[in-house]
């Protein structure tokens, strides 16, 4: 069971200097990054633009027509994958008790993370950028 601080309600920082401490810091660093990137992403696509205008053509010609937007969205993807999957790992370790069941669930989780990394990276890198000098 993950020990939770009764005050901050975050995880108690693991003692020692191993992998778990690194994970604890990664959750907080990506958390700060996502505070900016994820909220900005949601705001741009719901308040600046509206879902009604977001066709595949809109993504190619407006949303991702500059390298900076693709780079920022790829950075968001990386942060959300680390934060999301390390977070889900904590949930799985909390609720899936059996050794085999936990191993299978975590294996599925990590394979899903790799799949999402590949899908997201492929579309950001390969989607043609109309009007660019490429």
């Amino acid at each position: 069971m993950i020990r939770v601080s009764p005050r901050s309600s975050g995880r108690v920082r693991p003692s020692g200097s191993g992998l778990e401490v690194a994970v604890w810091y990664v959750m907080r660093l990506t958390g700060v990054g996502l505070f900016v990137l994820a909220l900005a992403h949601f705001s741009i696509l719901h308040f600046v633009f509206d879902p009604a205008e977001q066709t595949a053509e809109f993504i190619a010609t407006q949303r991702w027509n500059q390298l900076i937007w693709r780079a920022l969205d790829w950075l968001l993807l990386m942060m959300v994958l680390f934060h999301g999957f390390l977070g889900m790992r904590i949930v799985v370790v909390d609720y899936v008790r059996g050794g085999t069941a936990r191993l299978l669930t975590l294996s599925f989780l990590y394979m899903l993370a790799v799949l999402l990394f590949v899908l997201g990276t492929v579309v950001i890198v390969t989607l043609p950028m109309p009007g660019s000098a490429r």
Partner: protein, 154 residues
């Protein structure tokens, strides 16, 4: 808070169910979750919800290159009335998780802030409402604007 024997007297049938029952009952009665416990439960629920959407969202954005027509169909659902209510729910989960996450980080990095953990928790709800209500209104605009126009207000 009442003493343990007094609490047990309120639940005579459970209390007479043997030591195991007694222990479970005592744990339930003793457990008094307050702000920190609610914050933790909401953080976990919103986190899992956002995670599930991220899985869907990475797959749907892949379709922009892989199958643009399927992407357009899905985005038409996002723009529909039920889709917009789900987006408000997603935005609420995102905003809560972001604000509570900052609260966790603040208290983790500056333990002296622990003295104000309850105030920070309520401040995060003030921000949640102040940002969330206008945000929800913008997302739901295609739903309420025609109604206002219909009755001649807008």
């Amino acid at each position: 808070m009442p003493s343990a024997p007094a609490l047990l007297q309120r639940f005579p049938r459970l209390a007479s169910g043997g030591d195991a029952h007694r222990e479970v009952l005592m744990n339930v009665l003793r457990y008094r979750g307050r702000e920190g416990m609610v914050a933790w439960a909401f953080h976990r629920i919103s986190g899992v919800g956002i995670f599930l959407f991220v899985v869907l969202h990475v797959i749907d954005i892949y379709l922009v290159g892989g199958d643009p027509r399927a992407y357009n169909e899905l985005l038409a659902f996002y723009a529909s009335v039920p889709g917009r209510f789900l987006e408000v729910l997603l935005g609420a989960a995102l905003l809560y998780h972001a604000l509570n996450g900052m609260r966790i980080i603040i208290i983790d990095l500056w333990p002296t802030m622990t003295a104000y953990h309850r105030q920070i928790w309520w401040a995060s709800w003030v921000i949640f409402v102040a940002v969330g209500v206008p945000g929800a209104a913008i997302i739901l605009r295609p739903i309420w604007l025609p109604i206002l126009r219909g009755i001649g207000v807008a």
